[in-house]
């Protein structure tokens, strides 16, 4: 795409109005156009990000301006078993949920890539879990996980007779952890499936034809064509997914609020509990900041680990 071919002064001579001329002066126009977006981002994103890192090194509480205390918050966190617990669960939660989402989402994308009637309707229905407010579907899961009236327990106990007693989904640590992971996978599948479907549709069918002429089996076609061709988009979607799963807040806050016995706290919910509910802004900020190294690591891992070859798919597929 070429750069501006006509210089603005030529036009400006024809338009004497100084205001019009000002708005046609490129540096001014660029500044005006960027001002709202960059202004909003600077005030409500960059500044708070810096402020958050600063707060992590202070003992600020709600209503009291804190003083710089160096690494004390972090030193305290390292001895805090709840923080370690939250780190552990955040990693487990992100690991299992991401794996589940991508395995099932990729499968769903491959299924949707076939031809069958009402395909677009089905695609629309499948995105629903992602469109509906997470907290509201989390409430539905809370109700599904109810200790007494869980519909899953009803199915297993009264309909199928596979179990004798109701499952206590949220009452003890490990079942609660896995219940939350299941809800997260449920919510994440549509996004992964629809994004990967878009990637699948860009793979040229001629590649499959060529492979088939060479006698490649279905598995070989998947392993040596679909998978490598999907790598770039897989890397991007996975980066996003890992970041937003690791920092997830809504599902846990809505379903267990970190319970039972603080066993399902993610770093974000722990930060909220200490920082906003408990009023220890400095400590909460330190917990939030402690997520950053994990995020950077996960991003680098998923991005560079997966997108080794070419990270952006060009026009040519071959």
């Amino acid at each position: 795409m070429s750069v501006t071919t006509l210089s603005s002064p030529v036009l400006a001579q024809r338009q004497p109005n100084w205001l019009v001329r000002l708005f046609d002066y490129k540096p001014f126009l660029v500044a005006m156009c960027l001002a709202p977006a960059l202004g909003l981002l600077a005030v409500f994103l960059t500044y708070p990000l810096g402020l958050g890192i600063w707060l992590a090194f202070t003992d600020t509480t709600i209503g009291r301006k804190g003083e710089f205390i160096g690494l004390e918050n972090f030193q305290y966190l390292l001895t805090d078993s709840l923080w370690w617990n939250a780190v552990f669960y955040s990693v487990v939660y992100t690991g299992i949920a991401t794996f589940g989402k991508f395995a099932l989402g990729f499968w769903l994308a491959l299924l949707l890539n076939n031809h069958f009637p009402f395909k677009s309707l089905l695609r629309a229905i499948i995105l629903l879990p992602w469109i509906v407010p997470t907290v509201l579907s989390a409430l539905a899961f809370w109700w599904i996980y109810d200790p007494q009236f869980s519909i899953i327990s009803y199915l297993l106990v009264d309909v199928l007779h596979w179990r004798d007693s109701n499952i206590d989904f949220l009452g003890s640590p490990w079942p609660a952890r896995f219940s939350l992971i299941a809800a997260n996978i449920w919510r994440g599948i549509p996004f992964v499936a629809i994004s990967l479907l878009a990637g699948l549709q860009t793979i040229s069918p001629s590649l499959y034809e060529a492979a088939m002429l060479d006698g490649a089996s279905a598995w070989q076609r998947f392993r040596y064509i679909t998978f490598p061709m999907m790598m770039p988009i897989l890397a991007i979607v996975m980066t996003f997914s890992i970041i937003f799963t690791f920092t997830d807040f809504q599902l846990v806050y809505a379903i267990t609020r970190g319970g039972p016995g603080n066993s399902t706290h993610l770093l974000a919910t722990l930060a909220f509990q200490r920082g906003i509910a408990g009023g220890e802004l400095g400590e909460g900020a330190a917990i939030a900041v402690s997520m950053i190294p994990f995020l950077v690591f996960a991003t680098l891992f998923s991005y560079f680990g997966l997108a080794r070859r070419k990270w952006q798919q060009g026009e040519a597929n071959d």
Binding site: C33, F44, Q201
Partner: protein, 300 residues
């Protein structure tokens, strides 16, 4: 596209073993495609079905699976919805949420249209870096920002005001919309703008008369997406709003309706259903835009 592949594979398999052809085309397709798809759809939709059916069940049926089949309602009731609309501040919450979502969407659309136009069309030195910077802003999750943002909101005197949400939501909407719109602007031929420049149009006239009308699908995508994201936002609304009347629907249901030890499941599910309906309706009207913006943003 793919069905040529499917046909080709069917043909190839048929040549290899003619007697398996029937299995291959019919039953195999049923087992490999329709059955898993059916399971996916069932699992993905069940929570909504459960939500809907719970909100119309009388309390007696909700708590009694022995005498009533839990998957169906014998005597549907509107009591939960009536309770919600007349005994709680639900209409007020809906109104606040709508206001916040529309405000934040408008603000982000204006800001990101201008920014995307500047980055993609005005092409000043360093514009790719500004674009990259805005993209990176999208990778900063709200969970890291909400504590310092709460102090910023207090500093500005906006605590407990919906205006705070309108101003804060663009932090995740602007990066998204800007990237979406950069993609759309890219697809509009630059020659059109050159013609207008030759005819003596100013830059702003070009933006208003030529670029924007052509980018309408992109604007709709960005708009409905922003609306949905603002409607669904939770953590900022939870942290910045304290008084019951100013809460948004997701926060209010969780903090105002969940009271005591006995949960009013009927009312909770009715609230969730009503709170999901606006986005669901919106979604059903603009499905294609959603899909294109979702995939477009990922591909950028």
């Amino acid at each position: 596209m793919t069905d040529t592949v499917a046909q080709a594979s069917a043909a190839a398999n048929a040549k290899a073993a003619p007697d398996t052809m029937a299995w291959d085309s019919g039953l195999r397709r049923l087992m490999m495609i329709y059955l898993p798809l059916g399971c996916f759809v069932l699992i993905l939709l069940f929570p909504f079905y459960w939500m809907a059916i719970t909100s119309f069940k009388p309390n007696a049926e909700l708590m009694n699976y022995r005498e009533h089949n839990p998957f169906w309602i014998s005597s549907p009731t509107l009591a939960h919805i009536k309770h919600l609309l007349f005994d709680t501040a639900y209409p007020r919450w809906l109104w606040t949420t709508m206001l916040v979502a529309i405000g934040a969407t408008t603000l982000s659309l204006v800001a990101s249209t201008l920014a995307a136009y500047a980055i993609e069309r005005l092409r000043f030195r360093g514009s790719p870096y500004v674009g990259l910077g805005i993209y990176l802003a999208y990778l900063v999750p709200p969970s890291i920002l909400f504590i310092p943002l709460a102090t910023v909101v207090v500093q500005f005197g906006l605590f407990d005001s919906p205006l705070a949400l309108i101003l804060v939501y663009p932090t995740f909407l602007v990066p998204f919309c800007t990237w979406l719109l950069i993609g759309y602007f890219k697809s509009i031929p630059y020659e059109l703008e050159e013609c207008a420049l030759v005819d003596g149009a100013t830059r702003l006239q070009i933006l208003r008369r030529i670029t924007l009308p052509l980018a309408v699908p992109g604007l709709i995508s960005a708009g409905i997406f922003s609306f949905t994201l603002s409607w669904n936002e939770f953590i900022y609304a939870l942290a910045f709003i304290q008084s019951g009347a100013n809460k948004t629907v997701p926060v209010a249901i969780l903090t105002e309706l969940v009271t005591g030890d006995v949960y009013q499941w009927g009312a909770l599910m009715a609230g969730s259903l009503l709170g999901s309906l606006p986005v669901a309706i919106f979604y059903s009207l603009f499905v294609d835009y959603y899909v294109s913006s979702l995939t477009g943003a990922v591909k950028e």
